[in-house]
Amino acid sequence: MNDLSMIRKNLFRRRLRAILMIVSILIAFAIYGVLASFERAFNAGQERATPDRLVVLNKINLSQPLPISYYSRVGAVDGVAQLSPISWLGGYYREPKNFISAFAVYPEDWMKLRDSDFVFSQDARTAFVRERTGALVGARMMEKWGWKVGDRIPISSSIYAQKSGARAWDFTIVGSFTPRIPQADTNIMLVGYDYFNETRSFGKDLINWLMLRTTSAAVNERVGNTIDGMFANSPYETTTDSEKAFQKSFAAQLGNVALIVELVVGAAFVTILMIVGNTMVMSVRERTREIGVLKTLGFPGGRILRMVLGESILLALIGGLPGLGVAMLLITQVRGSLMNFVPTLTLYPDIAVGAIGLMILLGIITGLLPALGAMRLTIVTALGRN
């Protein structure tokens, strides 16, 4: 026998009570793991945003277009190193439920812009620039649909149709790419803007936004002001933001996820804190006499404090770790069906480590008061020996 086995036996002396507390902690950490992972996945775009990348949008909102002529005018602004137009296809594969994140871009420009996020093979680079009807597809999307280089795939648009009346474009997959950084999502498809623009029935020479890289993050503000000033009072006024701000506003369309996470997790934690704290106080109070006996036998107050704290920390870990396991299981189950909306959804290691830290903190907070009480308890009081 040792202190740990004593702690374990104390913890499970009232089995039902211990199990109920463990289940409540398990649920709390399952909620935490899932919501924190969702929050992280929603904000993954912000995390991978590089400080020298800017996005030029229509000042009204994201859904309003900009003319393609802005590409050359913005490109001429002092401080702009690289840029590409981007158009949203609203694509799907065979059926509308098979949503595809597809964008029409200038192939060479876009690949240079995203070199810091993705790894493009030389063959893929060359083929994507060369083939007008070519599509460059991310590794995750290739895997999801079982595609391979050389496949011809019909991509329809929920927004556009072809001039011929056909709703689908046949693209040939000319290459794939993999992530260079963990946050980079490869569940996307790129097609050539020129081909898409020439064949669509409306919206000709319009784009959704421009993405650019400046020569240095230090000139971002000046470049943004110059661009927005250049198009002020025109039919297509612009607003230029950092990529991070752009991703954040994009994520904000899905609601303030961070706030929801904080509120739900906070409410769950406070509730559990009170339940576990109260139960620990009761549990230690029930053992007043035993604590007195231990002290009589010569157990010092500090050791008794450690044993009570150890019990509450062990309780939090026994409940919390399986809770994280449940979170991981849930995330794995829903990841497939939510891939298009939260492609980087996973239980990140740092979330798991943070959760373990929270478990220990929960154990300390709930156990500290009863532990201090047990440490300070005098033998005479504990044994009622007056």
Partner: protein
Amino acid sequence: MSSASDPMIGIFDLRKTFTKGKETITIFDGLNLAIPKADFVAVMGPSGSGKTTLLNFLGGIDRCDAGTIEIAGIRIDRLSEGQLAHWRASHVGFIFQFYNLMQMLTAAQNVELPLLLTRLGGKARRERVEAALAVVGLSDRLKHYPKEMSGGQQQRVAIARAIVSDPELLLCDEPTGDLDRRTADEILSILQLLNRDFGKTIVMVTHDPAAAQYARRVLHLDKGHFIEKELAA
């Protein structure tokens, strides 16, 4: 080298008062006591005479207002709480009226508790536990939980726990107060054995004159002073 006539317990001019509401109650006002090594003393007296308080002082679990308490040459009234805990672990064994066993631990685990405060390894601890339980006649009850044992058996486990770390002094607070006569006699015989064959100094507080008969001496506590009666061992 020590002998049975060496003092084990020496109390000099012990003073203690309690405050109850607005009233101050004097328990001891200059109490003196000397108990030699390997003695077996029964302390009797009316309720509220301070028997348990005296036992608390001897065990270092309560503080006196003034006076000195020396046990086996150590002035325990001068020790800090931490030092007292350490001292209790190696010098004193306690036996309570209601056994005070940990219900979630087996008999062997209860007896092992004081040894967790030592540097002994698992094997050595096991050997000591088995030896202590053999002394009280419970070698076949190692893995039994307190609720699976009778009161007498539980008190034997408590005695084994008190002697497992081989202390010189055993302090017993009404050790047979919760037992029938026959079981009480068995327990008292074990205490007598520990005193006679193992040389333990025993101080036993009791209300039971029959129990006091097992001691070498009976001290009657009355109004803060002892009245001694010699008994045949």
